[in-house]
């Protein structure tokens, strides 16, 4: 701080607070909508202060799901959230495991084709699902994995970013540790599990936060793979509900579901902020 400018400072604080309010506004409104009866929300405009029905609407969203005219059946949010949780955790854990193993192979061994494999992993960065959408769907269909958790998770757990992150970290681990482990008679896997993985735990935590959010927020992939409502995720359900054709919208319950859909990843980011920021910055290196 060079000049003392109390007015400019006050203005700065004001602007940031205003921006925070604007950023939070749509979520505030979703919570408000979830706290009223359907009649109150159908007014023009809807009320801006909280009503008394929040618990009831949330319970409806969790255990019944919204009723839609013209759409048969509705899935309770608890089932959808369970699917999202299974998908997010399996993707995060799967990515971390296979990337730790491949980074270990790349850094701690010399073998023919090593660079070739490294480039193969690197190129996957250039092939997001969106650019190979139909052939990938066909392969999953041919393998009989449509409407299964395996189909939702397996194709998404290859990860160039996680492999690079772990490779980067392994390069900074002192060679003396390997030598000491060897002198003590430890083989490569013993070294990996007892020394390397424990040393990597902050990077693993950072990776977990980033990949959990990635997995929870998947949309296009579950849209293709999960046609059976038993395997749909909560994010997918929100995207479908909000534009269901000719449906009579039960807005309080739908907005309650939207809040349930964003709560887990937002909590992960806020509570694990340190690892989240670390993960974001490191994956972009």
């Amino acid at each position: 701080m060079i000049e003392r400018r109390p007015v400019a400072n006050a203005f700065g604080h004001l602007m940031l607070v205003a921006m925070i309010v604007i950023v939070a506004f749509p979520i505030y409104l979703a919570v408000i909508a979830a706290s009223h009866t359907i009649q109150d929300v159908s007014q023009t405009p809807m009320p801006l202060l909280p009503g008394a029905e929040l618990l009831e609407n949330t319970a409806r969203a969790l255990f019944d799901g919204p009723q839609l005219v013209g759409v048969s059946g509705s899935t309770p949010a608890i089932v959808l959230m369970m699917n999202s949780l299974i998908m997010a955790i399996s993707i995060a854990v799967g990515k971390i495991i296979i990337s730790l193993l491949s980074a270990f192979a790349i850094v701690y061994f010399r073998f023919p084709l090593k660079n070739f494999f490294f480039w193969m992993i690197f190129i996957t960065l250039m092939l997001p699902v969106e650019v190979r959408i139909i052939p990938t769907y066909k392969i999953v269909a041919d393998l009989g994995l449509l409407d299964t958790y395996t189909g939702l998770v397996l194709p998404l757990i290859a990860s160039a970013t996680a492999t690079f992150l772990f490779r980067q970290f392994f390069m900074t681990v002192p060679d003396e540790l390997v030598e000491a482990a060897r002198i003590d008679g430890a083989g490569p896997m013993r070294f990996f599990f007892d020394i390397l993985v424990p040393l990597t735990r902050t990077s693993i935590a950072a990776m977990f936060v980033i990949q959990f959010i990635y997995g929870w927020n998947q949309y296009l992939w579950p849209l293709l793979i999960a046609s059976d409502y038993k395997y749909q995720t909560i994010v997918l359900a929100i995207g479908r509900l909000i534009r269901a054709p000719d449906a009579f919208y039960e807005w309080p319950v739908i907005m309650g579901m939207a809040v349930l859909a964003l709560l887990p990843p937002v909590l992960v980011v806020v509570l694990m902020q340190r690892w989240f920021v670390k993960g974001l910055v490191e994956t972009e290196k």
């Binding site: 990337s99 073998f111 052939p135 066909k138 290859a158 060679d175 929100i238 995207g239 739908i254 964003l262």
Partner: protein, 293 residues
């Protein structure tokens, strides 16, 4: 970079790298090559046989006014998302960086939209702008705007841009703030001693030093707008009204799954692949020779 000390084992490294490589081949390389193959094939009317048509699928695409239109829409959409998102978050980051107190609290209160799924961001903003209960829709009606983004293409584009930008602001803000905090204070103080005011200091000292961060964020935001906003479009507008928000990624999905045009969709996939490769090359060339001052 190579380690000096390594383990000796003939088979173990292959075993360790096998899961990653297997998934990469089955779900990345094989489908990508299939997309290339299908892009030069066409199925007959019964879908039983396909025959080689050369570049016909591509020619048909570039003669299709909807496809050209989708290009224009994507260009407009990504330009708006990138410029609005970057300017807003730069302004916020510069403001937060100037303040001595409260920076950490502001950071916490601004980063969480990153965690909201694009489709959910679409749902939230769709409700705010929904004709009827939506507050902003009501305000716009009061202001005399004939507001209904389900019917008006420009209004639909506006809502889609708001939702997509909103989600990305926290990411840009974090990187700008980190970039600003890494600029040595002595440089700014030196400029101040030489008599430069805050605005002059920003444009002649801070902004040039921030340009690597800015460049990096431009690439990230363009990639985001091109490839990660499918959920926003699908939940808010379904590409409509009258295809006015049909970005390339939405069209590739729609043509492949709803319209069942395999050859056309595969040709679009190949074009998208070229775009991603170009963007990745730009990004990595820059990283290799980081801008120096």
């Amino acid at each position: 970079m190579e380690k000096r000390v390594v383990f000796q084992n003939r088979y173990l490294p292959y075993l360790l790298i096998a899961p990653q490589i297997a998934i990469t081949i089955i779900f990345f390389f094989w489908p990508a090559s299939q997309a290339v193959v299908q892009s030069v094939l066409r199925e007959d009317a019964f879908g039983t046989r396909s025959y080689f048509v050369g570049l016909e699928n591509f020619i048909a695409l570039f003669e299709d006014e909807y496809y050209l239109n989708s290009f224009k829409i994507t260009a407009l959409f990504s330009t708006l998302v990138t410029t609005i998102g970057l300017s807003l978050s730069l302004l916020l980051a510069v403001t937060a960086d100037r303040l001595v107190r409260g920076t950490t609290a502001y950071k916490t209160l601004l980063i969480w939209p990153y965690a909201v799924a694009p489709a959910v961001a679409g749902a939230l903003w769709g409700f705010v702008f929904l004709p009827g209960p939506g507050i902003f829709a009501w305000l716009l009606l009061q202001a005399g705007v004939d507001w209904n983004f389900h019917l008006n293409g420009d209004q639909a584009m506006f809502v889609v841009v708001v939702a997509a930008t909103w989600k990305q602001i926290s990411y840009n803000f974090l990187f700008f703030l980190a970039g600003l905090q890494s600029i040595p204070k002595s440089l700014i103080e030196a400029a101040a001693i030489d008599g430069a005011g805050p605005i002059r200091r920003f444009w002649t000292v801070v902004f040039p030093l921030l340009s690597p961060t800015l460049f990096f964020l431009v690439v990230v935001n363009v990639v985001y707008a091109f490839f990660e906003t499918f959920g926003v479009i699908h939940s808010l507008t379904r590409g409509g009204p009258a295809k006015s928000t049909e970005i390339l990624v939405y069209k590739v999905w729609y043509d492949g799954f709803e319209a069942q045009d395999l050859g056309g969709s595969a040709a679009q996939s190949v074009i998208l692949m070229v775009i991603v490769i170009a963007l990745t090359v730009v990004q990595f060339r820059y990283i290799e020779r980081k801008v120096h001052y």
